[in-house]
Symmetry: C2
Subunit: 222 residues, 2 copies
């Protein structure tokens, strides 16, 4: 499986790339708006894994090149770039790919972070609206602490919630998640249920801010 | 401590009453709009605990009588009754009490349950708006599976998130939560952060519906 991480130089992209590269045999392509930035991140990730004795297959490319021929395309970009990113890559996507949306719209005030979805109802649904019709979209990886994800010494024990209307695409993403150590996929239903999934992210930040000794939080369901 | 559970005949009220009665030495008063219904629920709970060898102090009363002189008043009523309930008891509340709000506004459609807050932003903030000014309100117990809570053989292992603007009131509720087995209080900040806490409840129902083998879910943060 070839996994493209568009925005793979950002913090959540870094964590996902490192975990997938360490725990699976899949090919990782870090995407960025600048090819050079992507390549330098890719080789930095690769050498971090090499120091741990992991031989990983990570390359870097400009976003459109990164997503071409990828089986799974993760849109690991900030929510305010997600619309532009989808527009820039949409001609390079095809119907046998799966697009994964991990972004969350939030706004902050003195009290904490608050869920701030786009007009479509959720970022996942915004992505669904923008990608060509036949390409399935799965919302996933919303509620992972980027710092914990990137720290390969840290144990996760997190659940990640999947939303999507295409059962095959959701099964593809679920099986990728299952390959990552200490990460469990759970099904939260169709795209229409994405808002409740995405709104856990600001909650995690608020709990970490106000609960002593808690930081870089994830969540598990039981 | 005297804990009044207004709406204590409902499913979340039942679970909270049983757990507090089993795990703490506090006095429980089940409240209902009808005194008789409250008394019959109270004696039913008490006999269920007696069969387990637990001698509990549970009485029942009409809501206004139940909350009078209680140290902590839990509004375990459905969200569409919360406004009326607060209006009906507000003259019986005083500034040295703590009001606890566990209700969540939701709406359902074919896809699942969705968070549906009142105009105030959250049910917790609606309660804050309606109780007399000096009485502190703490949002808590939102994301507990009523079925698990009422089944005294079931282990919880859940976290419950507290929101509130009054540190002393929050500490009072946190210390009560800590007395309940397998339940951990976490601080999610002021009332303004209640919406993100409340919106976990529909998510739990959606995950239980779509994830095989999962039911009566709670959540933990780590």
């Amino acid at each position: 499986v070839k996994i493209a991480i568009a925005g793979g130089t950002g913090d959540i992209g870094e964590g996902l790339t490192l975990r997938f590269a360490r725990d699976t045999d899949h090919r990782l392509v870090v995407g960025s708006r600048e090819a050079e930035k992507a390549q330098s991140a890719a080789s930095e990730y690769q050498s971090r894994l090499e120091t741990r004795g992991v031989e990983a297959d990570i390359s870097g490319a400009e976003n459109t090149a990164a997503v071409t021929d990828a089986d799974v395309v993760v849109l690991a970009v900030p929510p305010y770039h997600i619309g532009d990113t989808v527009v820039s890559i949409r001609d390079h996507l095809s119907g046998d790919q799966v697009v994964v949306s991990p972004a969350v719209g939030m706004r902050g005030d003195d009290d904490g972070l608050h869920y701030h979805p786009p007009g479509e109802g959720s970022v996942t649904e915004l992505v669904v609206d923008r990608v060509p019709g036949k390409i399935p979209v799965v919302g996933a990886f919303h509620n992972l602490a980027a710092g914990r994800l990137s720290d390969l010494d840290a144990e996760l024990g997190f659940d990640t919630l999947l939303v999507g209307d295409d059962a095959d695409a959701k099964a593809t993403v679920a099986s990728l998640v299952e390959e990552v150590d200490d990460l469990r996929p759970l099904d939260a239903g169709p795209h229409a249920n994405a808002a409740e999934v995405e709104s856990v992210t600001p909650l995690l930040v608020n709990v970490a801010r106000y609960s002593e000794g808690m930081h870089d939080l994830g969540v598990s369901f039981h």
